[in-house]
Amino acid sequence: MAPLYYYLGLSVVMFSIGILGVLLRRNAIVVFMSLELMFNAANLAFIAFSRFYQSLNGQMFVFFVMTVAAAEVAVGLALMVTIFRTKRSIDVDQLNSMKG
């Protein structure tokens, strides 16, 4: 069995890739997927700690995170659809009518 910090390392890397995805991609859906990746990174950490402490709290947490993620996906995708209807694009870089 790998030690805890292996998992944590992996989780950090996943989280970082998620961050980079958010920062670098212009496609809103891809950005959103990167966010999901970040959630997953956190989930991995939870599960690893849960195993480390032999405590179920972490797993419970992950369960709720998944549900919340599902809810967010519904809302987020709905928003994107709406935007797409008006703008015909889901390029986040085109969402800059307000600034300053």
């Binding site: 966010l35 956190a42 989930n43 947490f61 967010e72 928003l79």
Partner: protein, 482 residues
């Protein structure tokens, strides 16, 4: 298992949730022209919940296996949310009609969001904190975008959503690390682990600071503030008004609840970070506001700045002798800020026209002459924001600064005062336009909006003359810490 105590403790929230569903259903039968009925229903629910909340004042209790805690702190904040909710409904009714976005779901989402906020201030477990955060945020994302097909509203919704989720990810990671450090997610458990030996403190501190990022996002602390102006501008004004108070208060509720209960141990590490956040927030918010000509953006930056002041009082939270004052002053300020901000947004709502008209400062020219019932309250709000006596904002700042000084952060108080000076400039600009420049402002007459503004102004003025009850309430609204 669930028992009646649990139900009773959570009753204000449960009522609100159930009421929200009922309103949702009822709305289906309410014709478009008579959505006022929905609004009234929503207000009734809020008022009912408000009454229940106040009834809880003297009965601190744990509920749902310690997942939630009912205490004075929570009650105080819940009162603020509910009042801002009522204002949010009052402001919305004609506004929605005027903007042709009459969707009964507005009220439902508002109720749900408030229930999320209320849950936040009762939260006693990080899972509840996280869920409450989502429960209050998701309706706000939707509400921000509810004015579709207005592109600005949609843009605001998506921006808010993406960035909000982004910050949630940090909160989540922070919780994970705290869990990793202590093996617990319930706040009492965490305290026990931190004060006892076994916790992994380095990890704990990192987790706490990631939580700070997430909560900082909610309260709009620099550098996590950048969503604020765009969202405030794009979202329908009643939503913004509600959000500027409710979301901020909920953010601070989370911050205070989590940090003061469980994290004094990490204070030594976190204080410099908080210091920096507070200072930056005050400086950046106030300075950039100077450049704004759109009232909504200006108020957005102003709300950032006020988050800075509140953070300032929060900096010495780890100092046991100050932390009570820290909480009390923050709560008091939130109350003062709520009254002021809701009132100011009411005026904004009154002036806003279709397609983003009536939002420039120039559009306020001549308001003082033509519509004193809006202009005079607006002056009061601007002065209260600035912190000029005799307004509630003055006492709020007074208390905040006093806490900062008491905590040994006179330097921070100095920054706060100097940036207040900067803020006076842009708040006064509003007054300048309203009173010193001639103009023909386009105002939609709306009794509810005017009433909101006048009531808020009266509260700001009168409570400032006799603020003792509010002081006392805030000072007694302590957290129940096991």
């Amino acid at each position: 298992m669930v028992n009646s105590g649990d139900i009773y403790a959570m009753l204000p929230i449960i009522v609100l949730l159930v009421w929200g569903m009922l309103v949702l259903l009822a709305d289906l039968w309410v014709p478009v022209q008579r959505k006022g009925i929905t609004a009234l229903l929503a207000v009734a629910g809020l008022a009912f919940s408000f009454g229940l909340t106040l009834a809880q004042m003297r009965q601190p209790a744990l509920a749902f296996n310690g997942m939630a805690v009912v205490d004075g702190f929570g009650v105080f904040l819940n009162a603020i949310y509910l009042i801002s909710g009522i204002a949010g409904v009052a402001l919305a009714h004609t506004y929605l009609k005027r903007m042709e976005i009459y969707r009964g779901e507005y009220y439902v989402l508002l109720l749900f969001s408030i229930s999320g906020m209320m849950l936040m201030s009762y939260a006693n477990d990080l899972i509840v904190v996280f869920l409450a955060l989502e429960l209050l945020s998701i309706p706000l994302y939707i509400l921000s975008g509810i004015a579709r097909p207005n592109p600005r509203s949609e843009e605001a919704g998506l921006k808010y959503f993406l960035l909000g989720t982004f910050s949630s990810a940090f909160v989540l990671y922070g919780v994970a690390l705290i869990y990793g450090a202590t093996a617990r997610t319930d706040l009492p458990g965490i305290i026990a682990m931190v004060t006892g030996a076994p916790a992994n403190l380095p990890l704990f501190v990192v987790g706490a600071s990631l939580l700070l990022v997430g909560f900082g996002f909610k309260v709009a602390a620099v550098p996590f503030h950048m969503w604020t102006p765009d969202v405030y501008q794009g979202a329908p004004s009643p939503v913004t008004g509600f959000m500027s108070v409710g979301a901020k208060a909920a953010g601070f509720a989370a911050l205070m609840r989590v940090f003061i209960t469980v994290l004094p141990g990490a204070a030594a590490d976190l204080t410099p970070i908080l210091w920096g956040l507070a200072a930056l927030t005050m400086i950046v918010g106030n300075i950039i506001a100077v450049a704004q000509n759109n009232i909504k953006r200006m108020l957005a930056y102003s709300s950032i700045a006020h988050a800075g002041y509140m953070l300032m009082a929060f900096v010495p939270y780890g100092n046991g002798s100050v932390s009570n004052n820290s909480v009390a002053s923050l709560l008091f300020y939130l109350a003062a800020y709520a009254a002021t901000s809701l009132g100011a947004w009411a005026v904004v709502v009154a002036l806003e026209g279709r397609e983003g008209k009536g939002l420039q400062l120039q559009d306020y020219a001549g308001l003082g002459r033509k519509y004193p019932w809006l202009a005079v309250p607006m002056v009061v709000f601007m002065l209260s924001f600035t912190g000029v006596p005799p307004t509630l904002g003055f006492w709020g700042k007074f208390y905040l600064f006093r806490t900062a000084v008491e905590g040994g952060y006179a330097s921070l108080a100095l920054i706060g005062l100097l940036t207040s000076l900067v803020s006076a400039y842009y708040y006064l600009r509003v007054v300048v336009f309203m009173y010193f420049r001639p103009g023909e402002p386009a105002v939609t007459r709306d009794a509810w909006v005017t009433l909101t503004a006048v009531v808020a102004a009266a509260a700001v003025l009168l409570l400032s003359l006799l603020p003792t009850p509010l002081f006392t309430w805030a000072a007694q609204a302590l957290m129940r810490v096991q």
